[in-house]
Each structure stands twice: as C-alpha cells, then as structure tokens.
C-alpha cells in the first residue's frame, strides 16, 4: 500500500506525522510531569491545550503579535491559570481519593469548555501564519518544539527546582525530608505541565483549526502515549509522541481516515498485554 505512493509524497506523509508528533510530545510531556509529581491524572489537560491555542489566537488577532511569539505569552498565561487551578481545586483534595481527583478533572473539562465557548464561540478558529511558505512554518514548529523540550530537559535535569521535582516524583516523603516544600512543587509542576499544553494548543491552531471541544481526543492520545512510553518516563513521552504521530499518519494512509483515532488505542492494548509497564517504563517511577 505504501509502495504505491510516490517517494516525494511518502516523505511528506512522514514529515506530517512528525509535525503532528511534535504536538503530541508537548502535550504528553506536560501530562507526564503532572502525573509524575502529583500522581494525579489530569483529564482536563486537553482543555488547557485548547485554551493556549485560543489565547495565542486572540493575541495574533487583537494585538497583532506573531503567533510564534504569542506561544510564549500564552504559555505564561495558561501556566499561571494552571497554578491557580492547582491551588484552588487539586490542592484541596489531593490524597483524599482517586475518585475525587477523577471527578474534579472531569468537571474541569466542562467548566473550561463552556468558558471557552462563551469567550470564543463554538465556531472553529485557526491562527494564520505570518509566512507565505508553509514549509517555513513546519521548520519553525519542529524548531520551537525542540527548543521548548530542550529548555524543559535542562530545567528538569540541570536545575535545583528540576531536581526537586524529580525527587518529589520518585519519593514524596523523602523529598519532604530533604526540606522540599512539596506543595510548592505540585503547584509548579501543574503550572509547567499546563504551560507545555498551551504551546501544543498554539501549534495545533496553526496547523489545523480548533473549537472549545478539540481537546478531548488529543488528551486521550496523550494518555495513550504516556502509558506507551511508561508513566513518568520523560524520554518515553518524547519517543512515544513522535512515534504516535508517525503511526497515525501511516495508519491513515494504509487503512483510511476513519482509523486515525482507533489505531493508537489498538496499539495501546497490544502493548499493555505484552509489557504492562509500558515500553520504556519500569515498575517504580
């Protein structure tokens, strides 16, 4: 099936898979950070992503800001909102029961969707690129993803705060005993995780279009990716994200467009049967 496609178009299909993969990488990395540190599954992660897209959209329309610069503004806005939501919502119920966290994050989905619907209506929007050439856009999208992920890696691996985040994720009590204010770390991780989601949302609004409800399916895919990559494994999120984008692109080519959303879940089920801890995960984080 793939052989029937001419090489230049096949290359485009693969490149497209990688571009979509970039969005998954950003989305899954943020989700993974929040899960790793707080052990909370934030089902509303997709809505934070779309919110980031809308903020960049408004900045590019009303302020005339270059969308690639507005990424960084919307990152900050959504990150701060993430911190506030962590304080006001998750912080209150953390450690009470997994069911409470589940219901809270499911509730957040609807609150955020309806808020976005009021502010931006249900009609789809997209961010117009300032460049004539779409190829330039793609290079920038891949470049920005690499830049942000490198920054994220340095923050997590090379700084004191990143060390504290990893310590909290590996052993919460021991982290407290080191004098780390773990509640502070929760807040920062949630903010950073949602900020990463916001960048994914901006890129998504540049390559396709978004509505207040476009976050649901990508969030499910991000869950699949971090389960595939191993919960809490940062490298797994990167490889998983890019791999997922590629597999999706190939599946649409070979099996048809209706398989786009199904194929990832089929792979997930297969991987869980063969390797319940995920491809890159170990039993303990």
């Amino acid at each position: 099936m793939l052989l029937a496609i001419s090489p230049p178009i096949l290359i485009q299909i693969i490149v497209w898979g990688l571009i979509v993969g970039c969005i998954y990488v950003l989305l899954a990395s943020g989700l993974n950070l929040i899960f790793g540190v707080m052990k909370v599954v934030n089902f509303a992660h997709g809505e934070f992503m779309i919110l980031g897209g809308y903020i960049s959209y408004s900045l590019s329309i009303f302020v005339g800001l270059n969308p690639y610069l507005s990424i960084f503004v919307s990152m900050i806005v959504v990150g701060v909102l993430g911190v506030i939501i962590e304080r006001v919502c998750f912080h209150q119920i953390l450690g009470t029961s997994k069911l409470n966290e589940l219901i809270l994050s499911l509730g957040l989905i609807y609150v955020l969707q309806n808020t976005m619907s009021i502010l931006w209506t249900d009609y789809p929007v997209l961010i117009n690129s300032p460049f004539e050439s779409r190829v330039l856009d793609w290079v920038i999208i891949i470049g920005i993803t690499m830049l942000i992920m490198t920054g994220f890696y340095i923050l997590i691996r090379r700084t004191k705060i990143g060390r504290a985040m990893r310590a909290t994720s590996q052993n919460r009590v021991a982290a407290m005993l080191m004098g780390i204010n773990v509640e502070h770390i929760n807040m920062l991780s949630f903010g950073l995780g949602t900020a990463l989601a916001a960048t994914a949302g901006t890129l998504l609004a540049i390559i396709t279009s978004i509505t207040p409800y476009s976050g649901e399916i990508p969030a499910l895919k991000a869950f699949t990716i971090i389960i595939l990559g191993g919960l809490g494994s940062p490298l797994g999120a990167v490889i998983g994200g890019l791999g997922y984008g590629l597999i999706e692109s190939v599946a649409v080519t070979v099996l048809g467009g209706t398989w786009r959303d199904a194929v990832g879940f089929i792979i997930l089920i297969l991987v869980l049967i063969i390797r319940p801890m995920g491809l890159f995960g170990e039993k303990e984080i």
């Binding site: 029937a4 390559i207 396709t208 409800y213």
Partner: protein, 428 residues
C-alpha cells in the same frame, strides 16, 4: 279541508323543514378553531443554529398566511388561522421522540413539519407514524426517513434535497462543464473525501451510482474518509494528491470542508478543483475560506449569498433580513416552503381530518417557491420525495470577500465557469 288551510299547512310544513334543516345544519357545523402546526427543530444542542433558522422561517410563513386571513377550510366554511407550536428536539433522538409525542398527545397538532439530523429524525418520526399524523420533514439528508421498511411511512413526506440530489448535480456538472476543459480526451479523474457517516457514505455511494447509471466518463481515482469532528486532513489529502485527481469532492460539514480545502491548497499543494456540498451554504463558510475559496465550487439548492436568481428568494431574503437582522440560512427555506405547502394541502382537503390532509399532501401540485423544482412544480413522487433543481455555485474572491455565482445549470447561469488560480490538472 279548504284549499287555503291546505296551503297554510303546506307552507308551515315547508317552513318547519327549512328551519329545522337550517337549525340542524348550523348546530352540526363544527365550532371555529385554529390549525395547529407542530414544528420539530433543534433549538439547542449541536444543530442549534440550523434549528433557529428553521423556527424563524416557519414563524415568517405563518405570520404571512395569517395576515392574509388564514386558510379556507370548507368543513368550517371559514378561513382558519394557523397556530405554530415549536418543539425542541435538542439534536438528540430521545428528546426528539419525547417532544413529538408531546406535540401530538398534549398539543393535539394537526400536522408536523421540520426535523433536521437524519439520526434524530429517524427516531422522532416514530410517534408521528404511530399516531398517523402527517409529517413534512424539511431536514435530514438521508432518504431513509421516507424509504425505511420497518415502519409504515405513508404519513411521512420529505421536502428536502437528499444526498442523491447532491451527487447527481455534481457529476452532471463535472461531465458537462469541467471535463471538456480539463480532460477532453480522457476520463475525468475524481477523488472523494467524505465523512464516515450515513450522510458522507450516502454522498459517496450516490456518486458511484450516478456515474454508472448516467454512463459518464468519470473515474473515481481515490476515496478517502474521515471521522466527524476531525480537523486534520493532511494525510488523506496527500494520498489523494498521489492519485492525481482533476477534482476533489468533499462531502462534509462547513467546518471540515473549509479545513480540508485550506489544508489541501496551502499545506499539501494539491491545487485542484474542490467541490463542497450545500450543507456548507452558510455565511461562516465563506468567511472561513476567504481567499482559499477563490474559484472553488459549492453545490446548492438555495443561494441567499449569490446574485439574484429568483424573485421569490430575493423577497424572502429581504423580509428575513428585515425581520431578523441576519442573512437566512439553508434549512429555513425548506421549512418556509413546507408551511405554505401544508396550508395549501389543508385548503385542498377542506377538512382537518389527518387522513384527508395526508391524501392532499400526497396529491399536491403547486408552483415552486424558494426551493426550485426541475419542472417548476412542487409534487411528491411515489417515495414521498420532491424532485428539486440543485445548482452549482462558483465562489469568487474579489480581494475582500468571497461571493458565489451560479455557473450551472445553463438556465440559471450567472457566470462562466473558470478554473481556480494555479489549477493543476490530474492524470488518467
């Protein structure tokens, strides 16, 4: 007996007969009442915009008829006013069943009109079928609302274009107008990108059917699908590009159609002729496409955005804008026509008996209104479907706005068809 006495008695008898006959006549004449029309529309839920348009159109038609005095019904020997009772199906099958049941059993409607989504209407029509209430369905692109075999659909009428109409119009246009320009000596290569729903599949199947039935020299070189709500069509478009089509028929809704055309031109470099279907005939579609829509194609049956092509449409559009402040949408036009159609049928029936109204609708023959008919006459065929005249619009970008002009069929043509800028023909 004297002759005089006999005469008096005779006059008296005649008088008694006459008076009692008159009294009998007047006492058995039913009291005056209103004609109750129940409108089934999606006023909330995902199709709320469409439902609102249908409600506005129905209200306008009812107001116009009532202002002219109402509908003459022989049984009552007077003109009766129409009362419109609106029921919200909330774009949901269960809610649809509940609201139609309520309209029939509590509001005692005489006739039903409306219905939008095929999935919702297939459910909400059931109470009407069971209670034998005539239902003129003005939405639902699936032919099954009158052709289903599991229920008796003899009270169901479909006043709406269906996927067969879209595809027939599109392939005829391609064969008549596009093929001579881009592929005079070979088959025209057509690709389809369709929503994986009853609606999208209907478009695909009817395309294949009409190409074969009409014996057209069109080859389908690619048929790709997508899920409802998808926003990323790059991979499908790349695959279509690989198949080298002369034109791409996109069967979807406003949003996915506009996304696919933009992605095809800007991202994938598939510079071809894109064909959208009438579901996209909304002001937002033109806004969203912008310059990407230049010289692209839209199949339609009612073009409020286009240049004037029908006095009836111009009048309706002017009245609608005056009354509601916005340009009318697509589905309201069918509902507007249907209210007039029902009024005419009731007048023909001369009664509010539901079976007789049904018969009158079945036998209706009246001049076309907003939706044009192939022979200019509104009538229902054996499937209780109409035979509408659809047309093809070409959207032209003038640097600031995108505006449609009719390019097919010849009798409605406002402009000659042109290929889009940068058009690359496909291959055999």
């Amino acid at each position: 007996m004297k002759k005089r006495t006999q005469l008096i008695i005779a006059v008296a008898i005649i008088a008694i007969i006459v008076v009692s006959a008159a009294a009998y006549y007047y006492t058995t004449l039913p009291p005056t009442r209103t004609i109750k029309i129940g409108l089934v529309a999606s006023l909330t839920g995902s199709a709320a915009d469409v439902g609102t348009d249908m409600e506005r159109a129905a209200m306008m038609a009812v107001e116009e008829i009532n202002e002219a005095g109402g509908v003459y019904v022989k049984e009552y020997n007077s003109k009766l006013k129409i009362e419109l009772i609106v029921g919200d199906d909330k774009t949901n099958p269960q809610e649809g069943v509940a609201i139609v049941t309520k309209l029939i059993t509590e509001d005692n409607v005489d006739v039903l009109v409306g219905g939008f989504s095929s999935a919702v209407t297939l459910a909400s029509q059931v109470p009407a079928i069971e209670h034998n209430v005539p239902f003129v369905i003005t939405g639902a692109s699936s032919s099954s609302v009158t052709r289903r075999t599991d229920k008796d659909t003899s009270y169901m009428f479909h006043y709406c274009t269906i996927t067969d109409d879209y595809s027939e119009t599109i392939v005829r246009f391609l064969n008549h107008t596009v093929k001579p320009i881009v592929a005079p000596n070979r088959n025209l290569s057509l690709a389809l990108l369709y929503q994986n729903t009853a609606y999208g599949q209907g478009c695909y199947q009817s395309t294949v059917y009409f190409i074969n039935t009409l014996g057209l020299n069109i080859t389908i070189v690619a048929a790709e699908t997508f899920n409802m709500g998808d926003t990323d069509f790059h991979t499908q478009l790349l695959k279509i590009k690989n198949a080298k089509p002369d034109a791409v028929y996109h069967a979807g809704f406003t949003r996915d159609t506009a996304d696919a055309i933009k992605q095809g031109i800007a991202d994938v470099g598939l510079n071809t002729l894109y064909i959208a279907v009438e579901c996209c005939e909304e002001p937002q579609f033109y806004e969203f496409l912008g310059s990407f829509g230049d010289r692209q194609i839209l199949e339609s049956k009612f073009g409020p955005q286009a240049e004037s092509y029908s006095e009836a449409v111009d009048d309706y559009k002017a009245k609608y804008i005056e009354r509601w402040g916005v340009i009318p949408g697509m589905m309201g036009a069918d509902t507007y026509d249907a209210i007039y159609l029902i009024a005419k049928a009731i007048e023909n029936a001369g009664t509010l008996d539901k079976a007789k109204i049904r018969d009158a609708i079945e036998n209706i023959e009246m001049p076309q209104m907003l939706i044009m008919m192939k022979d200019g006459i509104i009538r229902f065929d054996e499937n209780h479907e109409i035979d509408p005249l659809c047309f093809i619009e070409q959207m032209i970008w003038d640097g600031t706005t995108l505006k449609p002009y009719i390019v097919y069929p010849d009798e409605l043509k406002q402009r000659d068809f042109e290929l889009p800028p940068g058009y690359v023909p496909g291959g055999p």
